[in-house]
């Protein structure tokens, strides 16, 4: 199966979320997808574009969409939901407003017939679930996980239409099919602080702290996410977040990408899925998911460090 692919900057070899790109390519390859990268794609503008100049952001994304169209791609998978949102927003707006389309085409120096649809990884896996059921169903143990969608998988609701806005379920249903036990919880679509990770880290600690606490209260042992910013904020800043939420210092909540979890269900090697690059160690969790004994014996009770 051919599939248009817009990796986005965060997933490439030079970026913090490169393991997400590794996991996507390994997992979708194993499922039989042939990824056709949009030729010479550019950055979607991300938070910086959205926060400072909306016309610039639309033009940058119309260039991407027009490049995809020229390459004959009908749908493009954009695994980072911020990319999906910016691409979809551009698509949505230029389709409705001909003056905006004309301006964006002129700025991007490309003609665009509005024929490309950007999709998230969650949508791709969920709508093809029946087809892959045999290869995926029940391959993982019933570990309690919190499926965390973040703010952009379902917003704005007239642009990101695949799932319910306030209580999305697509990622939960994929995880349940794999055999995992996704918990019911309150913070599925709360914002993690996204692009403030350097410019306002205290805000990120507060927001991710709340998300951690909610997932813990629901009994989850790990997060499953599908956004490189959510992953980085929950994983890299977990110590600060746990402190802010009063959860203590020994909190240990691995943050796995959906693509990694599906890859494990397919029997792919953890290393090929980039599981060794996370800040919160995933070794024990991965061993449990793969049905292996824990990698290292736990320290005896009462041992003095």
């Amino acid at each position: 199966m051919e599939l248009g692919y817009y990796p986005g900057c965060a997933l490439k070899a030079h970026a913090t979320g490169y393991e997400y790109g590794m996991a996507i390519e390994a997992t979708l390859g194993a499922l039989g997808f042939e990824l056709k990268e949009v030729p010479d794609w550019n950055c979607c503008g991300a938070s910086a574009g959205h926060m400072t100049n909306s016309i610039l952001t639309r033009a940058l994304n119309v260039r991407n969409l027009a490049l995809a169209e020229a390459a004959g791609l009908k749908e493009i998978l954009a695994p980072c939901p911020l990319c999906t949102k910016e691409l979809s927003l551009a698509q949505h707006e230029v389709k409705e407003h001909t003056d905006l389309l004309a301006a964006a085409q002129e700025a991007a120096e490309m003609a665009y017939r509005c024929s490309v649809r950007p999709i998230t990884l969650v949508e791709l896996l969920h709508r093809n679930l029946a087809q892959f059921r045999e290869r995926l169903a029940g391959k993982l143990p019933d570990l309690k996980v919190a499926c965390y969608y973040g703010c952009l998988h379902t917003r704005p609701p007239d642009v990101m239409t695949y799932d319910d806005t306030e209580q999305p379920v697509a990622m939960d249903e994929v995880c349940r099919t794999l055999g995992l036990a996704p918990v019911e919880w309150t913070h599925k679509t709360e914002c993690c602080g996204a692009g403030f990770t350097m410019s306002r880290p205290t805000v990120v600690a507060r927001l991710t702290g709340r998300i951690l606490k909610a997932a813990r209260l629901a009994g989850a042992e790990a997060f499953v996410v599908a956004c490189p910013m959510c992953q980085a904020n929950l994983d890299m800043r977990q110590t600060e977040a746990a402190a802010d939420a009063g959860l203590g210092e020994d909190l240990h909540m691995p943050v796995l990408y959906l693509a990694q979890v599906v890859g494990l269900a397919l029997g792919l090697e953890p290393k090929a899925l980039g599981l060794s690059t996370h800040f919160v160690d995933t070794t024990d969790l991965v061993a449990r998911l793969r049905g292996e004994p824990p990698a290292a014996a736990e320290a005896p009770q009462g041992a003095v460090a």
Partner: protein, 195 residues
């Protein structure tokens, strides 16, 4: 929030321009406060989102454009998603961010956030894609003492995991990206006479 209102302070031309860019009537908002109730960052705002809506309704241009709130907004869209009047508070924040830049009224107390965005965009302009190592360095060098110390202990752990990579990734047609940037600059408002 309490506001003293006098007719003299209402900038009607500005209000009309806000409504044009917003695609909504500001009077649609009936100040229920649902936007602020669901806003994840309202704890960081002196004027939470419903108050920003109110400032715009009252035509209080200077206070609205000089506010820090639009820069602390995470653009998560929770407010617009839940607004019972479809008044688009999130889009109002976008409008205010762009107008504040055009008028030279970006609040200097939010320089960290604003510089971060500018460094990020400069990286896209230069390479077509964002170069994390490069733009983070540029951001930190604008205020090396304070920003340089932040995350000093995390950085070696990142490097150990190959995050972020050392070299940029440049697209072929960077010239096209530069022309997009040049054509899409915000229009600076003419200098205002001092009053």
């Amino acid at each position: 929030m309490q506001l003293q209102v006098s007719r003299a302070q209402v900038d009607s031309d500005w209000k009309r321009e806000v409504e044009r860019r917003l695609g909504r009537k500001l009077a649609d908002c009936y100040q229920c406060g649902k936007c602020t109730a669901g806003c994840p960052v309202s704890f960081e705002m002196f004027h939470p989102i419903h108050a920003m809506m109110r400032l715009a309704q009252l035509g209080r241009k200077d206070e609205a454009l000089r506010s820090r709130s639009q820069w602390v907004c995470a653009a998560c869209e929770a407010c617009s998603t839940r607004c019972p009047k479809d008044a688009e508070p999130a889009r109002l924040m976008t409008v205010l961010r762009e107008m504040a830049q055009e008028e030279g009224l970006v609040n200097a107390n939010e320089a960290d956030i604003y510089d971060f965005h500018q460094s990020f965009l400069a990286s896209i302009r230069r390479f077509g894609r964002v170069y994390e190592m490069g733009f983070i360095a540029a951001y930190k060098l604008k205020s090396p003492l304070r920003r340089g110390l932040q995350d000093l202990l995390t950085f070696p752990k990142m490097l150990k995991r190959g995050k972020p990579g050392l070299l940029p990734h440049k697209i072929q047609n960077v010239a096209a990206i530069r022309r997009i940037f040049d054509r899409c600059q915000l229009q600076k408002a003419p200098e205002r006479k001092s009053d």
